[in-house]
Symmetry: D2
Subunit: 115 residues, 4 copies
């Protein structure tokens, strides 16, 4: 079994053991996704590049925990909506390759609509 399937199963087993599926409608789950992404971001607020580097060194597990929380909701939402997330990202990467051809996009951080 792939890591994604294994983790996805682990997470939904954890959820179902607690009988939490009743709360997990897509809208509220998406709120969690945003709020947890916010907690990742909060780690870097009010800090310059050097302070961020230092912070990541001294808080690696904390930052990892927050990233894990975002991934948790990604995997759970994918499962609930019956979306194969590995397939989805493979397909999206193909779209990205077309939207951002190396020749045009190299060294530029513009949106594809402005390239």
């Amino acid at each position: 079994m792939s890591d994604f399937k294994r983790l996805s199963k682990k997470i939904s087993d954890f959820r179902d053991a607690r009988d939490w599926k009743q709360f997990h409608n897509p809208k509220d789950v998406a709120l969690s996704l945003v709020l947890e992404a916010g907690e990742v971001m909060e780690h870097f607020q009010w800090k310059n590049a050097a302070e961020i580097e230092e912070h990541v060194k001294t808080h690696k597990e904390d930052v990892g925990d927050e990233l894990a929380d975002v991934l948790y909701w990604i995997l759970l939402m994918s499962k609930d909506l019956n979306i194969d997330i590995v397939q989805a990202i493979e397909r999206k990467m193909k779209k990205n390759e077309k939207k951002y051809p190396v020749k045009k996009a190299k060294g530029k951080h513009s949106k594809y609509t402005e390239l």
Copy 2:
């Protein structure tokens, strides 16, 4: 190679071919994480449960694309910060098991501090 490692490499290869690492400081990457999570959430806004179900049916690829975008930034940030995201989520799930014991948490959606 695990799916995570393979996708993570695919994403950073895509990035490096475009010479974009220069832009990818953790703070701005975290902004992307939040903004892309917002785009997932936007799919469900102003809709009731039935409308969301219908929307997911008719826009499955779009929703999958947005979830993929969030995963893209999770994988990229994990790589840049040298965080093993699979290990991180395994560890976080162990913490969650302790924070939310089945006995106390079953059927309740309170924060662990309020159980």
Copy 3:
């Protein structure tokens, strides 16, 4: 003096007495705006309409505090960027009137691009 000017002055005086302007670059201030908006949103998560109504009754001051926090950052950012927020919203409302003519928009919650 208008309420906006008065409150805006109160907030920047509060900030300057603490010598915090040095931290308040627009990017980090915008992060605060998003994070505080998230705290408003969190009040309504996992709740249905009836639960939200009840929650607002019993937590009115808390919700008001969170809305105030968002307004705090709006006023501070406007001041720092030398934007007259009252003028800005009057101008934006004129744009909205054009984007969403009553005839087309009545009773529909589509984006103006889809009307």
Copy 4:
């Protein structure tokens, strides 16, 4: 009438003329608040201090529009929840004064719990 009351009335008149109140439950309105705050933040992403300064000069109206959109939702939610936002921010500023006494907080950007 204060600017807040006047703008608040203008916004709810605009909304009611379009018969949009039916969509404006607090949860979805809070989503708008977060998403619009995200659009403010997006203006500053991938930019260093000098680029932000330049961007604000050349895009002042755009940034003002986004700030106005956030304020729009603040005023609308306050009205719908029957919260006096001016009173709320005055009260919150008093709490902030206590949480962050000048003596302790001067020049430090720590949370009040860490002062």
